[in-house]
Symmetry: C2
């Protein structure tokens, strides 16, 4: 592995639950030698990708990412593109809509929108990492990624997020097959009790899966008739999003979606 990769991989240990990490902790977490870790972090700090807190000397994500993110958004206004679509999706379904993004082998929440239809709704967090085996978005993505990558994910221990979360690889695999057969992913109470969710995979310009778009609702409202309506709205939103950034829908999936759309006019 390249040195640069090692340095960049250090950044992936920072997340919402652990936004600041000390040198020794980071070395332990990453398995990188402490001296190496120090040098790498120093270089990241030099370029503003990381930052050292004055007092505690711990590290956190640096200010340079703000400039880069603004640049990225300017070049590829992904979130700007997603927001109106999600808002419309939330409004027509009356439930919470969200989009997630595959980056560095992890699925992160990119944007979301709420509906005003119900007082009780599913709430989202910014930049939250979604477990593949416990969310509909995760299954939608997992089912359409390259087999080696999916295997790499399945070979890691699967945490039981709720009592209903599948933790055995065979169970996950059979769900993946089902997702491929139906063209969409559905979960209920696998990520949080009383929450059901419906998701579609999203693809980039190369036709590789790049994320998912989903609608989450209380299980009591995700009844068959509502699900059917939600699914057609979801398909329209997915098509719109991918049209916006030149994503390529695989042919078989496109056919499946078309069938679904025609079945529910």
């Amino acid at each position: 592995m390249g040195t640069t990769s090692k340095a960049l991989s250090l950044l992936e240990y920072f997340d919402r639950t652990q936004p600041v990490i000390g040198l020794s902790d980071l070395a332990r977490l990453s398995g990188v030698n402490k001296a190496t870790c120090f040098r790498l972090m120093s270089e990241l700090v030099e370029h503003g990708l990381a930052e050292q807190i004055t007092e505690s000397r711990e590290y956190r994500i640096g200010p340079a990412v703000l400039r880069l993110a603004a640049l990225r958004e300017a070049a590829v206004p992904l979130r700007d593109l997603a927001m109106p679509i999600l808002q419309r999706l939330a409004q027509t379904t009356g439930e919470t809509a969200h989009m997630s993004h595959l980056v560095g082998g992890r699925l992160a929440t990119l944007a979301y929108a709420y509906s005003a239809a119900h007082a009780m709704k599913v709430m989202m967090e910014d930049a939250e990492v979604l477990p593949f085996h416990a969310t509909s978005s995760g299954y939608a993505v997992l089912a359409h990624m390259t087999p080696p990558l999916a295997e790499a994910i399945l070979s890691q221990p699967l945490a039981p997020v709720t009592k209903s979360t599948p933790v055995r690889a065979p169970d996950v695999r059979s769900r993946m097959a089902e997702v491929r057969r139906l063209g969409h992913a559905r979960t209920a109470e696998t990520f949080e009790a009383d929450v059901a969710s419906l998701a579609l995979p999203l693809f980039d310009a190369r036709g590789a899966v790049s994320g998912a778009i989903a609608v989450a609702a209380p299980v009591t409202r995700m009844l068959p008739s509502a699900s059917a309506r939600t699914l057609t709205a979801l398909i329209a939103a997915a098509r719109e999003a991918m049209a916006g950034w030149g994503g390529q829908i695989p042919d078989e999936l496109d056919a499946l979606w078309r069938q679904t759309q025609e079945a529910t006019p």
Copy 2:
């Protein structure tokens, strides 16, 4: 220089005017060998910091920065902290207020707010890099950074942005001295014709200059009386921003600002 630094420095060639760069161009710009450049970019792409456009095979900033930026904002809500302050500043002065941030030796626009008072106003761009010798924010920062860093910037060729932009290092240096003497920076028509601007430096927790806050207006509206009112509003805003993130104002500057505030009640 470390390999990681070399890789990260490649990211700095992407900006608003050049959001996508081909391999050969990037190698030329950075002076890095083409093969090396390729390998480094491949590693950046692997981690999502860069991305390759499918068709043209050119590179641009990648999607991972979005996750990192969200994380950074969550840990250090800089922009969230700045926005209400800028909005109030824009409202009380009736002009465009903006804040910029020193990152990797460059001054980048972080946030800005407009006033509804006038139809004609100075417009800002996201993540724009401000030339040190052509903007009031640049002078405010330049005048308070460590001499070696300032010298490094002055040793580079100074582009004549407008007809009034100082391009000779002695001129810039005398302006810097003036900024230090007065406690604030003022420019007129150095960045764009008919635009005048007033800026204050901002400091981080270590007391090192970290950016600037400024008000920009048409020269015809930046008259002495308006300038005095703007300056006091600017000082209040700068103090508020630094209080919000624990910035340390150098003692002499704090005294200068206090005098100004007391002179204009």
